[in-house]
Amino acid sequence: MNVFTIRDRWMNALARSSIRRAFSSGIGMVSGGFLIILVLTAIFAPWITPFDYAAQNLANSNAPPGWPHLLGTDEFGRDVLSRVIYGARTSLSVSATAIAISVSVGMTLGAAAGYFGGAFERMVMTVVDLTWSFPDILIALIFVAILGPGLTSTTFAIAIAYLAQFTRLTRAQIVRLKQETFIEATINLGARPAHILLRHLLPNAVAPVIVAGMLAIGDGIILEATLGFFGLGAQPPTPSWGAMMSSGSAQLFLSPWILIFPGVAVAVTVIAINLFGDELIRALDIRDRMREA
């Protein structure tokens, strides 16, 4: 094998990958590119932010956008740009962690319910459908009320609010796949249930769940911002987009930039996630399977 065949293989693998296909359209490139920049910004926040997000300067409070505070300052004279950048950290990490928990638990429950069926399935799905029938925000509020405000409880609240979606989606996939001939063939070869579930059923069920998870991160950001707006999420001085909008709403007419910039951040991020998720669905060609839940 020479250098060229190695390079060809690598290029082929890249060309075939669905992620790359999602980036191939204009919308995919813009939304995906924005998300990559956003994640990098959140990760490298301490090196990028021009000011300390918590440093107060009451002499320069409610300063309009300009130099050196590009997006102005809030009622305590804190730099809005720095706080929006750090807010990305809070929003993205809370939402992504919550959805990761939700996807792992949901997939486990859904796969077990779909595979084993019977009384176990009925029990799991009844509870799951029960939570499905309430609005996400209501479930999240209930759990924050029980656990008390803060980022950890926000994370768990969001995770529980979206659990039903992933459980249902995974179960639907597994139930459909169980009918496939190759699963029957695997049984005929004497495979153990764990092997069938982990090696044959789950890998074939994972794509729609991953994409649903990706889209749910967007919803999670909104839910996190909502809880933050009500003062139930990040506690001061930790910056969170929702909490910033909440404090900004008090001075909406005096200094609108305090509310507008975190609001724009939420909107643009969620739109980018949704657009990229759509492109991913197209690239993976799973539009029909997404509806199965």
Binding site: E180, A185, N188, A191, R199, P203
Partner: protein
């Protein structure tokens, strides 16, 4: 000494009894054909032998399936898993969908030897390549790195056969292995199976609705109709002197150098559905010879020479 012996097998799905009174036995190195129309219970027989009935909500109500001294109707789940794929291989009729679309061919075939023979991954791969070679699959090593969608139907069926053979089974059940393939490939696969039986001393149960395949490859044949075996015996005898009117009709349907404008033979009527199997002999509504006794009493098996048939005319109580 038979390796597989099915005695008076009866199957029920709830209140419905789609299969009853199936008897046959098979030795190593022998091929047994099971032939019949769709819905005659051929595949159900295969599923019973593989212990797959519970999966579809069925159960064995009577009889025994004896495999190498064990009664399969009394096995636990764990014992079944050892047997399936390990000592009895099953080849199903749909190679197109019998492989996991997300896994490469190699790992899928390796898995069987790892599971049943306790081989390491590397050993299993060596064995896979060897088996693919004996099944005349070109470039066995490269094939291991392909995905199912990159292969043709005939090749996929060979892979499925390779998986069935990977754990050195004693018996192989092929449930219409060629139905989904085109005619030229069908002949290749049938020849391949025939070869395997001779070289590996396998016992092969070949389920088909193609009488010409039976004639080419089998030693013995069981003819099934409406969930019952109605005639069985050595292939040569059955083809030369079929006793049951249904077998006669089936053989009469094999096309044989027809003249222009001549029509193909067919059996009048349709196979009864499981819900309303007729009383008496199940074939009597379509039978050209049916007498009164045929519609009232179920005929028992009676031997005629080397074969046996369940027909009142063979027994001699109808004329």
């Amino acid at each position: 000494m038979s390796i597989l012996e099915v005695r008076d097998l009866g199957v029920a799905f709830g209140p419905i009894h789609p299969l009853s009174g199936v008897n046959f036995s098979i030795k190593k190195g022998e091929t047994l054909g099971i032939v019949g129309e769709s819905g005659s219970g051929k595949s159900l027989t295969a599923m019973s032998i593989m212990g797959l009935l519970p999966l579809f909500g069925g159960r064995i109500t009577s009889g025994s399936i004896n495999f190498d001294g064990q009664d399969l109707t009394k096995l636990t789940d764990r014992a079944w898993r050892k047997l399936r794929g390990g000592r009895i291989g099953l080849i199903t009729q749909n190679p197109m969908t019998s492989l996991n679309p997300l896994q490469k061919i190699g790992p899928q075939v390796d898995e069987v030897a790892i599971l049943h023979l306790g081989m390491s991954r590397a050993q299993a791969r060596t064995r896979t390549v060897e088996i693919l070679g004996t099944l005349r699959i070109p470039e066995p090593e490269a094939t291991c790195n392909r995905y199912p969608h990159q292969m043709s139907g005939g090749m996929k069926q060979r892979i499925v056969i390779a998986m069935a053979l990977a754990a050195k089974p004693d018996a192989l059940i092929a449930d219409e292995p060629t139905t989904a393939l085109d005619v030229t490939v069908q002949a290749q696969i049938i020849r391949l199976l025939d070869d395997l039986v001779k070289k590996r001393d396998l016992a092969l149960v070949l389920i088909t609705h193609d009488m010409s395949v039976i004639a080419q490859t089998c030693d013995k044949v069981v003819v099934m109709y409406a969930g019952r075996a109605i005639e069985q015996g050595p292939v040569a005898t059955i083809f030369e002197s079929p006793h049951h009117p249904y077998t006669q009709a089936l053989i009469g349907c094999i096309p044989h150098g027809l003249a222009e404008n001549e029509r193909l033979n067919r059996i009048k009527g349709t196979v009864p559905t499981v819900m309303n199997y007729p009383k008496g002999c199940p074939f009597h509504p379509r039978c050209p010879r049916a007498a009164t006794i045929c519609s009232t009493t179920q005929p028992q098996f009676a031997s005629v020479g080397e074969s046996s048939a369940a027909c009142h005319f063979v027994i001699g109580d109808a004329s």
